[in-house]
Amino acid sequence: MVVNLFKKFINKVLRNIFKKKKHLKLGLYGPPNGGKTTLANRICQDWLGEDMGSVSNIAHETREIQIKEQINIKSKGKELSFNLVDTPGIATKVDYEDFMKAGLKEKEAKQRAKEATKGVIDAIKWLDEMDAVVVVLDSTKDPYSQVNITIIGNLQARDIPVLIVGNKIDLKKSKIKKIQAAFPQYNVIGISAKYGHNMDKFYEGLFALVG
C-alpha cells in the first residue's frame, strides 16, 4: 500500500514536469475497430494536414505502435504539444479464420493473426510509457466488455489521466449514454472521427485532461 502511494506520488511529480514542458506522450487505446487510427488521422489532418496510418474494416489493421511527434494544438488561447501514440487494438482472442472470412487468403490471415497478437502485447507493454490516454470505444458496441474495464482499471492503477471517447456517433446504433453509465467517473465525449463531428469538444476535453 505504502509502495503504491509512493509510486503514485512519483508518477504525479514526473507528470507535472512533463506538463510544464507541454510535451507529453498521448496514447490512443481501446479494442480493435473502435476507430483509434481514424481519430489519429483526424487529429493529424486537423493540425498537421496529413494522415498517420491506414484504416480498414478488417480488425487489427494497426499491428504496430505508431508515433507522430510534436503535434501542436490550440484552443481558446491555450497551446498543447504532444507526441501522439496510436496503439494496436487490445483483444483477448485472435482467430486467423476471422480474417479469412473477411476475405484474406489463409497465409495472409495467419500472418495477420501472428502480427496482431504481437501488437496487443506491445500495446500493453507501452501502457507504462504514457502520460495521458484517450480510450477510444465504438459507441455502437457493448461498453461493459472486460477488455475496456481492464484497460481503464490499469490506467487508473497507474494514475494516468484518462479521457473516454465514444466514437461513431454518426451511426444510428450509437449509445453514448451507455458508455457514460458504464464509466461514470470519467469524462466521456461522443465524436465521429470519420466525419469530424464534435471534435471541438474532444480538443476541449484534451485540454481539461492535460492542459
Binding site: 487490445i90 483483444a91 483477448t92 482472442k93 485472435v94 482467430d95 500493453i124 461493459y144 472486460q146 490499469n154
Partner: protein
C-alpha cells in the same frame, strides 16, 4: 459437452501473480470454462491478456473473459472502505471471474448485473 470448473479463491491465494495466471490459463487450454471465486488484481488481468496473446496458435485462439462483482457503492462509505481494506490485505473474493476458451465461448455479455454466456455451435460432420 461443456465443462465448467469452479476454482475457489483459496486455491490461488498463496500463488504468485504469474503462477495464478498460468494456472487459470492451463485450465482454459484444456477446454474448460473456469469460474473463479473473486477476481484477479488489475495487473493480473492485464497479464492474463498478455500471456494469452503469447500462447495463441492455430488450436488455441484466445479467451473470453468477464468479471461480475457486487456494486460496492451500495454499502456506504465505511462499508466500502472496510471491503477495500480487506481486499487489499486478503485479495478480492467478492464476485466471480469467468474465463472460457474462445473456441467454445463466443461471447460473454454483461448488462451489468446479469451475465449471458454465448457458446459456439459445434458443427458435426454427417456420415454418408
Amino acid at each position: 459437452m461443456l465443462t465448467f470448473q469452479f476454482v475457489p479463491y483459496s486455491k490461488i491465494e498463496d500463488l504468485g501473480s504469474a503462477r495464478r495466471v498460468h494456472m487459470l490459463l492451463d485450465l482454459v487450454k484444456q477446454n474448460k470454462i473456469v469460474i473463479l471465486e473473486g477476481r484477479l488484481k488489475k495487473e493480473e488481468e492485464k497479464d492474463l491478456i498478455e500471456i494469452t496473446m503469447e500462447e495463441i496458435n492455430e488450436r488455441f485462439k484466445g479467451i473470453e473473459l468477464a468479471v461480475i462483482s457486487p456494486d460496492k457503492k451500495k454499502g456506504g462509505f465505511f462499508k466500502s472502505m472496510k471491503s477495500n481494506l480487506i481486499n487489499t490485505l486478503l485479495g478480492d473474493r467478492s464476485g466471480f471471474t469467468i474465463i472460457g476458451p474462445a473456441t467454445i465461448v463466443k461471447q460473454i455479455k454483461k448488462d451489468p448485473d446479469k451475465i449471458e454466456l454465448l457458446t459456439r455451435e459445434v458443427k458435426k460432420k454427417k456420415r454418408k
